[in-house]
Amino acid sequence: MTALRSPGGDNAARIRGLRKAFGTHLVFDGLDLDVARGERVAILGASGCGKSTLLRCVAGLERSDAGTIATTGEIGVVFQEPRLFPWLDVERNVAFPARSDAERSRVHNVLALVGLAHAAQRLPKQLSGGMAQRAALARALVRDPALLLLDEPFAALDALRRIELRAAVREILEFTRASAVLVTHDVDDALALADRVLVLAGTPAEIVFHGVVGEDATRAAILDALGVADVRRAPGPRSVRHGASYTT
């Protein structure tokens, strides 16, 4: 059975009893998660813990095996790579999802919002990594999504671009009031952008940590949860080294 899709009510997204397996590998077995309207949730976890799979299930790119995923309104997705169409210039890439004149008229606004108004006529091959990712963000915003899914959107950028784009995304989220689910392995991304932080770990993945930024979701608490999660995943000397990488 695939997950039912129905309006999420007061929630931007409501996940109940999500079950997803790849072959014999069970990624989720009964995961529940709510994202309130306007809320920004960061999901952290080690590589391969299932956080991207969760996002792909919500985006409709993966079929879940059981459970319900209910979302309200349009969904916008930004991936780790910009995924721009190389044959379209920035403006046409951003206009790609537009279905109506109203959405088409938003193209210039969202381009200005991400700071790319000056590069509208450029082809993707003429963009830097940071600019390409901004264009991808603009494309995700063109339908005025109620929920923005961000899958490691800064991972391919250098440290400086990362900080710049993070600030830009923060502004945009505040401006658009869209809900957001940010999947990341970077604690700083989570603390900078989210209201709420979850840590996923285990097989099948479960929420092993759950906190509100500014209250109990402190850097130390999140790192601790990630470290514990790693030890749980693979006990032994290797996991200690792996866990230590989060403190750097």
């Binding site: 790119l61 991936f79 190389p86 091959k125």
Partner: protein, 247 residues
């Protein structure tokens, strides 16, 4: 300017070899003889008849090949079942040397235009087909996902993502296919023709006219080069967005 150095040097060597008498005219005609022969052929209208006949055969054969390759390539590229059913056969046919088809084609289609156009089409078909299939197979799944997320219908996904993503490969295949078309044309016209550049070749050979042979060779070179340049121009115009090293 660098591109003219070698042709000019070759021309100079040709001229020197024939003018000095080191090479006899029945072995290699002089540039002057060749130019006079071009003028004669042009004046008598034979040049345009032969050139026109060859261009027509290449154009028709290439058009048929393009159409067939588009249909079969899309089907095989778009469906694993079709690939399993058709591709091994097509690959086997592809590995047959071009001239091996000639006797069969002559038996089936006689020595008329149909036979020549068919042979040209066989030659042009495979590069286009192979490129198209590999182009479709090579479309970035990540771009297709973007289309899926925005809820594109199957038709819209094909028109807005798959076709533009495949176009660069298709054009490369078409360029190679057109070159192949000229290659197969020579084979077709050498065997049985009463006009065309290949006929000029055989006629020159039978009458020991090296000037006539050279005119045909020069015209072949010119046609091949022009169609290659034309295809490259088309590639630049249509798929200049590709982020690869220009070849």
């Amino acid at each position: 300017m660098g591109r003219f150095v070698v042709p000019l040097a070759l021309f100079a060597a040709w001229w020197a070899a024939t003018a000095s008498g080191a090479v006899k005219s029945y072995q290699l005609a002089s540039p002057r003889d060749v130019l006079r022969e071009i003028a004669d052929l042009a004046q008598s209208g034979l040049l345009w008849r032969d050139l026109g006949a060859s261009i027509e055969r290449v154009a028709l054969g290439f058009a048929i090949a393009l159409l067939l390759a588009l249909v079969l390539g899309s089907v095989v590229g778009g469906s694993r079942i079709a690939e399993r059913a058709l591709d091994p056969t097509l690959q086997a046919i592809r590995s047959v040397p071009s001239l091996a088809w000639v006797p069969l084609i002559l038996l089936w289609l006689g020595i008329g235009e149909t036979a020549k156009i068919t042979l040209v089409a066989i030659g042009a078909f495979f590069p286009i087909y192979v490129s198209l299939v590999s182009g479709i197979r090579g479309v970035d799944r990540k771009l297709v996902e973007v289309g899926t997320i925005f809820g594109l219908s199957r038709t819209a996904l094909i028109a807005r993502v798959l076709v533009p993503a495949t176009l660069p490969q298709l054009l490369v295949g078409a360029r190679i296919g057109l070159t192949q078309a000229w290659l197969f044309l020579v084979a077709a016209e050498l065997l049985a023709a009463t006009n065309g550049l290949g006929f000029l070749l055989t006629d020159g050979q039978q009458t020991s006219r090296t000037d006539e042979i050279l005119v045909a060779i020069l015209l072949f070179a010119l046609c091949g080069k022009l169609s290659e340049s034309g295809m490259r121009w088309l590639e630049k115009r249509l798929v200049g967005w590709t982020d690869t090293v220009p070849v």
